[in-house]
Amino acid sequence: MVKRLTGDHEFKAAVSRRTLLQAGAGLAGGMMIPGFSMPVYAADHPPIGTYPAGSSGNTIYIGAAVPRTGSYAVQGEDELKGMELAVEHLNAGHDLVKKMSPKSKKGVLGKEVKLVVADSAAKPNQAVQAQQRFITENKVVLMTGSTSSAVAVALNKLAQREKVLYVAGISGSNDTTGKDCVRYGFRQNFFGQTAAAAIGPVLVKAFGKNKKAAYLTPDYTYGHTVTKSMQDFLATAGWTTVTNQVSPLGAPDYSSYLLNVANSGAEVLINVNWGHDAVLSIQQAKQFGIFDKMKLAVPYQIPFLAREVGGGLLADVYCATDYWWTVEDKYPLAKMFNEAFSKKYGYQPEWGAQNGYVSFVHWARMVEETGSFYPPDIIKTWEKGEKIPSLLGDVYYRPQDHQCVRPVIIVKGKKAADMKNKEDFYDVVEIIPGDGLMQKPDAFGCNLGDYT
């Protein structure tokens, strides 16, 4: 609290002073050298956001605000690694980049890409503050990061206000490309609606109709929308909700919630908690003997969940996910990605890393296709909705809500004895194409807003 108070004030003062000086210097410079005052792009496009300042040199910056502390720290580090690998590949003109963005050479439009990173701790205000600094100091041409939909929604709003593009990191809320969607924001990964539509039929097939379900729901936009989507879908098969235990992000103990679950008479426990909250709630559910009475399902899979909970707790548990590395048997680009990633970092990438990587390369593709860094034109290229390659085959972004229509993967936890290697935690049960999973574009109240 103390830190934030003083930090905030000093920060704002410093920014406004610097901005003033820069503006003054620019003005003076412009008046002295008339021929130099107009950047090349400005003839075509008026300045907007960090354009053209952010792309006028030889280097462009991407700002990432990912959680490196708190309940989502582990997942934040993983997605950051995916982003770092993408930047490395973009600058090197790697083959995998060229497969997804054929016009790419080295860099993006020939400019070297640099990543600037801040810890968001999965807190919206911290993420916004960091990105605002990146916009002012680095003139970032792209923002990213979240691993909490509360952050994604906040950065969406910042992107629209500052007119700087934003690609969401891990964000499972329907709101990110629903009621809180913006013209300047795009999301590659799956979310509540598609997760529910994908895993719902699998659960009904496995456990039957008319079941009683208990939910563990984190108390913010991600939790509420995913739980709602699951409830809505499962209701069509006669499932009822006997209890919905809402808890704050980062709760230190789940015993009181789990007692309610244990006493609820539920047959299936649907755990929407995420990050370490999911790990802890599953481990404590085991301590309370809950899995003797009911089955577990995880609609929005958490990177590292299986290796963290340990003890075979995820054996036979169904999860919906964005990516699981063993899909490489089917998708050659996934294999290329896994090889490059595991060579650099020593483990198989989780889905956050995949999302970070693909989001960056998709953005680079849009910039290359556009031929400039002028954000409204890049957005329009994106909104053509062309089918473009991803690690899971061709996908496209919907022009109406900027949501990527992409497959959702259903995995099932393996028993320790069935694991072929130490990272073989899941069987891929089904890869479900995205088209049939999506809601109507206006179903969650998306209104994208202006280009300029």
């Binding site: 103390v2 582990v74 580090e77 809402v246 802890l280 404590q284």
Partner: protein, 291 residues
Amino acid sequence: MINWGNFISQMFNGLVLGALLALISSGLTIIYGTLGVLNLAHGAMFMLGGYAGYVAYTYTDSFIVAIIFGSLFVMVVGLVMELVIIRHFYNRPDEDQLLVTFGIGMCMVELVRLTFGSLSLTVPAPKALAGITSLGFMFYPTYRLALVGIIAAALLALFLVLYKTRIGMIVRAGIEDSVMVASLGINVYRVFMVVFGIGAMAAGFAGIVNAPVVSLTPDMGDAILVQTFVVVVIGGVGSFPGAIIGGLIAGEIISITSMINPGYAYVMLFAAMTLVLVLRPHGLMGSQSRG
């Protein structure tokens, strides 16, 4: 989910939660009461106890050794911290004390993250205490049941030290009026160091005995620290019995509210704190002199 069975289950669970909060809070409140320093690194010390115990457990496979090592390690950290840093802040403004302990806490968390990574670690419960016990009205993890006894024993030990020994008498006198204690010719600094060590040890002990219930992460102390403050405020800042009563009240509020509406469990906790602050600004067991 409101029925008698669940109500009794939640009451019982509240007791277990409360006992743990009471133990952690007692360390914080003793330090504040005696030294006047609000130790914002207390949550980090709780975490440190868990990790130190984890290391000892990994090498020896003995939970008893883990408890002893975890507690002693954090006590030594506390003693060194008092001797090297905190001592120089007794006469500085409150804000400086808050900042320095906050900073130390951050350093501890990041050092642990650097050493062990962010992936959570688990310490299994001792074999004899693993599994589930039927209490008739519900099934409850055996280790959590044992935890009540373990914590009760620790609180009793702390009580005996504070109320039945000479150093305890000096500490309690120091809580009431430290200037008077100093003027009686007692080396207050040495007492301060011992108190800081004991307070730290309480946090470290809680950290390791709690480890089989949770999984260890570097920032696990953050959420606990907030709850601990609430407990201390409810119970009365600087009051040892207050920490116990406050802890039990907090545990019950979280548990019982979660039965009625889980989303409000923590809201009610803060509402209770606000109510106490309005009606009894010095807490339930606090007194004016500690203000």
